[in-house]
């Protein structure tokens, strides 16, 4: 007999309503706390408090702290590859890059915790996503770098190293999520206003696409 509910109200993964809801609550709480303090620095009590439940209850769903971290991390990695993968070799190079940069900027605005969690994992030496980085990500980047190189060879893009272009895009777009606190401190309320992220996206697009030197 399975320990998993046999109720008719199961989700696609065979979880009861309560399980689905609580797992989601915990994952959200974990994302926030892990994003701030990393795996080591995060405390179960803190995550439990964020999730609004007792610590033993939390451990009923995820037996160990590391399990929450792994689950949260996996969710985040999912959304990481997609935008880059959408870079279309047959599209207009400048337009494709504009789309990619815009998509990453939107992600930074909508899911800053995801970006921060990822950043923290990298800062810690990426012990939990080493395989992902060296296989999936590396392979995808290699493929897209080939696309960009082709664009350069065809003269449809300025001569630039594809890898460093990708790194530059990652750096600038994620900066707005990861260094959010710094940006707010430097800009004041201005950074919180509606439309700020669109303005940031415009500036980043302008710099990367056209550069800052006068024409």
């Amino acid at each position: 007999m399975s320990t998993i509910s046999d109720q008719s109200s199961n989700d696609p993964e065979g979880r009861s309503r309560i399980q689905s809801r609580n797992r989601e609550t915990i994952l959200t709480a974990g994302r926030e706390v892990f994003a701030r303090h990393g795996l080591r620095g995060a405390r179960l009590d803190e995550i439990a408090a964020h999730a609004g439940m007792s610590k033993p209850n939390l451990l009923y769903y995820f037996p160990r702290k590391q399990d929450i971290y792994a689950a949260v991390l996996e969710e985040v990695l999912m959304g990481w590859l997609m935008p880059l993968d959408a870079l279309d070799p047959d599209g207009d190079p400048v337009e494709e890059l504009r789309r990619y940069i815009s998509a990453k900027m939107a992600l930074s605005a909508e899911q800053p915790e995801a970006s921060r969690l990822f950043a923290g994992e990298i800062l810690a030496g990426a012990p939990h996503i080493e395989r992902f980085l060296k296989t999936d990500l590396r392979q995808l980047v290699e493929k897209k770098a080939g696309t960009i190189r082709r664009w350069v060879d065809e003269g449809r893009l300025a001569p630039i190293d594809p890898y460093h272009l990708i790194f530059t895009i990652w750096a600038t777009t994620q900066h707005y999520a990861d260094f959010d606190v710094q940006i707010h401190a430097v800009l004041g309320k201005q950074a919180g206003r509606a439309g700020f992220h669109d303005q940031a996206a415009q500036a980043v697009l302008s710099i990367i696409l056209k550069g800052v030197a006068p024409r």
Copy 2:
């Protein structure tokens, strides 16, 4: 009677040779460990091991963990302002930006731990450098943004928001220190080779100054 040594071999701050050496050793060890795990995630035993001394000995020099963190952080902040402050309003805009970007890239290559420590503090919500960010840094950035805006108004730079330009430069240059592990995973040995950082600096300079759209 002071507890501080009266020996003739004192450094400018009144510390004995042994004190100077050990404090430096601890600060270096602390920088490495705090850069990886943040204030919360770092363990005194780990720092002590890195420094090659016993934990009580370490605490003889810095009574609390937080004291090491504060000392390390202050050192790092020192080197943070300087390069930006060197941006000369009377110099050639493109040349000044080139100098600034190069200086930041060099810092990323030479002191990646410093950059990572700073990044971790920001990710954690910057509780220990809030004042620094909102006063010193903000003031300096305001001043330099004025310089850049003037350059733009004079037509010596493409029309771009000065703040976002500064953020873009911070993002790209620090990315090479903070995300070092990711870059290595994606590029393989290539990223470790001599000259890699010069190549990266060239690419970043080219993108920010000239952009990637074809001319």
